[in-house]
């Protein structure tokens, strides 16, 4: 006991060595070994271990073992974290989070015999942030009552160095993963690849078994799975939640995170699309992905239970901060991508518009001259009998000139698409009227119209919106057979931001749009039809977007096309019944 106050003195150089190790952040294993060797010398122990928590199984696993009796290649002992008799002293310390001094192991209820010569033992916990037990430092001696309270204090100090090193290593790993991801986010152009990468990295740094990323699809008003690391991968693009539906929908609707052990018993849990069986889930965490104007989606992670008996491996507050940070980066990347896309499309359309205006003007002039010349020729030949076939040639020329003028008109409509004459307009009436007209014009097709009881009003250009619906119906009719159906749904939706939107769905029972063409259908000059120049849907998109709306195509190839238009809705004017 007389040596106690000076116990540290002869060993100080070694401790300094350990601190140097620490500041240089070598591999954790080497550092833990140095700390343990230090501990054995300072308290004159025979042998010792540092065991770390495996939170998946709820067990302590020996990471380093030093001293007499250990043999190379010996499998690392694992101890359950428990206060049951014979469960091991380390297991008991991990449970209580308190140092444990045992003078005589033969009389100790927790002792788990590993070496026959062990007489006394001292174990201290490795405590991380938030009083989380990271592991246990355990030393033993073949002497009875070999360790003192002072030894316990020394080991606690060494254990805190180890804890600090473990936490640092953990931070270091997270930081590296985040930097890597940051680079990807800045460089990536393909949004899908990026989302996949985020799911992968989030699962990796949060030690999660799965990670899924849902984005809000404004035209559907649903959260659609866009990336997943594990089991849900096959449902990307298909799995979806309504806002407020399930835990995922709750996060999007309320813009708040959820961090919970398992999901069983949570009233919000719907279990529509799960990476794991509900009882297999050890912990669940979901955070909203925010943009400037509200929630864009949800990023969620789950941990699996290693066995039905394993304790819950919870996500910490730190984990939540990290996931929220990832989510905010995703949000920024999404908004940037959208902005770029909009800019590109707008510039594209503006450039095409200006160019086509000039060309159309020149061509229009020439066509006008040609028409006049042809007319003059025909007038002069009126009294002369024409050789056989000449009249047919003239007719062909007239028809060609007519078709060129039709193309010019299409171009003009395209350029004019965004020049609007806005006024309050009852969209329900407009759609009803257009469907009636179309039913007369296209008697070989069936039309179904579903309208809300309440009339839907928007601020719009009546002529332009009319041509939008007409073009969609016209476009559909080109791909439909006799007896096929075109279905129109018009309804009012409220987004979680409180904004009301009119949602018009135009769906047909035709062949649908091939997956590979979906990106192109709204581009100018894209057409699969022989007639026209492929501006129809580009004009439609231009008009809808000029109204502050969106248009998307959500059909499945083989099941028909499905166009979804959203337009900002307004309150019906007072006294107006539509």
């Amino acid at each position: 006991m007389a040596t106690q106050p000076t116990a540290l003195t002869p060993d100080r150089p070694k401790l300094e060595h350990a601190y140097r190790f620490l500041s240089a952040l070598p591999d954790t294993e080497a550092l833990l070994r140095a700390i343990l060797e230090e501990a054995l010398e300072v308290v004159r122990a025979t042998r010792g271990t540092i065991a770390l928590m495996d939170y998946r199984t709820g067990e302590l696993v020996v990471r380093v073992a030093v001293g007499a009796g250990w043999t190379d290649g010996q499998s690392a002992p694992r101890w359950r974290v428990t206060d049951e008799p014979g469960g091991s002293i380390s297991g008991y310390v991990a449970l209580t989070g308190q140092p444990y001094l045992c003078g005589d192991v033969t009389k100790d209820p927790h002792y788990y015999p590993l070496f026959p010569d062990t007489r006394s033992e001292l174990a201290v916990p490795l405590i991380g942030r938030g009083n989380k037990v990271l592991g246990v430092l355990n030393v033993e001696s073949e002497k009875l009552n070999a360790f003192t309270e002072q030894d316990a204090r020394i080991l606690t100090a060494l254990a805190s160095v180890a804890s600090f090193a473990l936490s640092s290593a953990d931070y270091h790993n997270r930081e590296r993963a985040l930097i890597e991801l940051g680079k990807d986010l800045a460089a990536a152009t393909e949004i899908e690849t990026l989302l996949e990468r985020v799911a992968e990295v989030a699962a990796q740094i949060l030690d999660a078994d799965d990670c899924s990323l849902f984005l809000l699809d404004k035209s559907l008003n649903r959260l659609v799975l866009r990336a997943s690391k594990g089991l849900l991968r096959q449902f990307v693009g298909q799995a979806s939640y309504r806002l407020g539906e399930g835990l995922t929908g709750w996060v999007a609707l309320h813009g708040k995170p959820i961090r919970t052990d398992g999901v069983v018993g949570d009233p919000r849990w719907k279990g529509l699309y799960t990476e794991l069986l509900p009882e297999e889930i050890s912990a669940f965490m979901a955070v909203p992905i925010r943009g400037r104007n509200g929630v864009l989606g949800v990023l969620r992670v789950v941990r699996k239970r290693s066995s039905p008996l394993a304790p819950h491996y919870l996500f910490t507050e730190e984990d939540e901060e990290l996931l929220a940070m990832l989510a905010s980066q995703v949000g920024a990347a999404l908004e940037r991508a959208e902005l770029q896309e909009r800019l590109f499309t707008m510039e594209h359309i503006a450039a095409v518009g200006e160019l086509s205006a000039r060309i159309a003007h020149m061509i229009g002039n020439k066509i006008f001259a040609l028409k006049g010349a042809l007319k003059e020729v025909l007038l002069r030949l009126q009294s002369v009998p024409l050789p056989e076939g000449v009249q047919t040639i003239f007719n062909g020329m007239e028809r060609s000139l007519f078709e060129v003028e039709m193309l010019l008109q299409e171009l003009r409509d395209f350029v004019k698409a965004t020049q609007l004459n806005l006024q309050p307009l009852c969209l329900s009436d407009l759609v009803r009227e257009l469907v009636q007209e179309a039913a007369q014009r296209l008697p070989h097709l069936q039309f179904e119209l579903h309208l809300d009881e309440q009339p839907v009003w928007v601020r719009g250009d009546p002529e332009k919106l009319r041509s939008v619906v007409e073009e969609l119906l016209e476009n559909a009719s080109h791909f439909l057979k006799d007896g096929d159906t075109i279905t129109l749904h018009l309804s009012l939706h409220q987004w979680f931001s409180g904004r009301k939107v009119a949602c018009l769905v135009v769906q047909d029972s035709g062949p649908g749009i091939p997956e590979r063409m979906k990106d192109q259908i709204f581009q100018p000059f894209f057409s699969t039809r022989a007639k026209g120049m492929g501006l129809g849907l580009a004009i439609v998109k231009g008009i809808v977007e000029a109204h502050g709306g969106t248009i998307t195509e959500r059909g499945k190839e083989g099941e028909g096309a499905k166009f979804i238009i959203t337009l900002p809705a307004i309150e019906p004017p007072k006294g107006g019944t539509g």
């Binding site: 205006a357 159309a360 003007h361 061509i363 229009g364 002039n365 020439k366 066509i367 006008f368 001259a369 040609l370 028409k371 006049g372 010349a373 007319k375 003059e376 007038l379 007519f402 003028e405 039709m406 010019l408 008109q409 171009l411 003009r412 350029v415």
Partner: protein
């Protein structure tokens, strides 16, 4: 029939319009540019009854300059503006400044030459009405002692 000036920088178009209007018995003169048109309008004696001018020639607003020159020469000259794609806004501006009408060159399925001939016809009538009105106005002013009843029955 009328004295008409046709202005278009596209020779084939200019000639086609000329031939079409001559077919209706008009006396047609042509100009191939804004500058040539203004010169011809200024020196014409008597002034043209109707000027048919393209909108876009040297500049986007050449038609407007031709209109100005025509109205300066004779405020009752009727001007019809031709517009190809994209210059309708300028044509409407011309209407506000006193043009009689405008004709779009490219209307699918419409015989714009016949349409133009029709509009020239109506422009002639309009001019004739205006001239008659002025004549009557002069006559009215030269009859100092006329009763309202007589004026109405005139």
């Amino acid at each position: 029939m009328g004295r008409i000036l046709v202005v278009d920088d596209e020779e084939l178009a200019r000639e086609a319009i000329r031939m079409r209007l001559e077919r209706d018995g008009h006396e047609v003169d042509t100009a191939a540019s804004e500058a040539e048109a203004i010169e011809k309008i200024r020196t014409a004696n008597p002034p043209y009854d109707v000027v048919v001018t393209d909108m876009v020639m040297e500049t986007e607003k050449s038609g407007m300059e031709v209109l100005k020159a025509a109205l300066l020469r004779d405020v009752l000259t009727e001007v019809i503006v031709l517009t190809a794609y994209g210059s309708v806004a300028n044509a409407v501006e011309c209407l506000k400044r006193g043009a009689f009408d405008y004709v779009e060159k490219n209307i699918p399925g419409v015989d714009v030459y016949d349409l133009l001939a029709l509009k020239v016809e109506r422009a002639m009538e309009h001019r004739a009405e205006s001239l008659a009105l002025i004549k009557r106005w002069h006559a009215y002013q030269q009859q100092p002692l006329v009763t309202p009843e007589e004026a109405v029955t005139d």
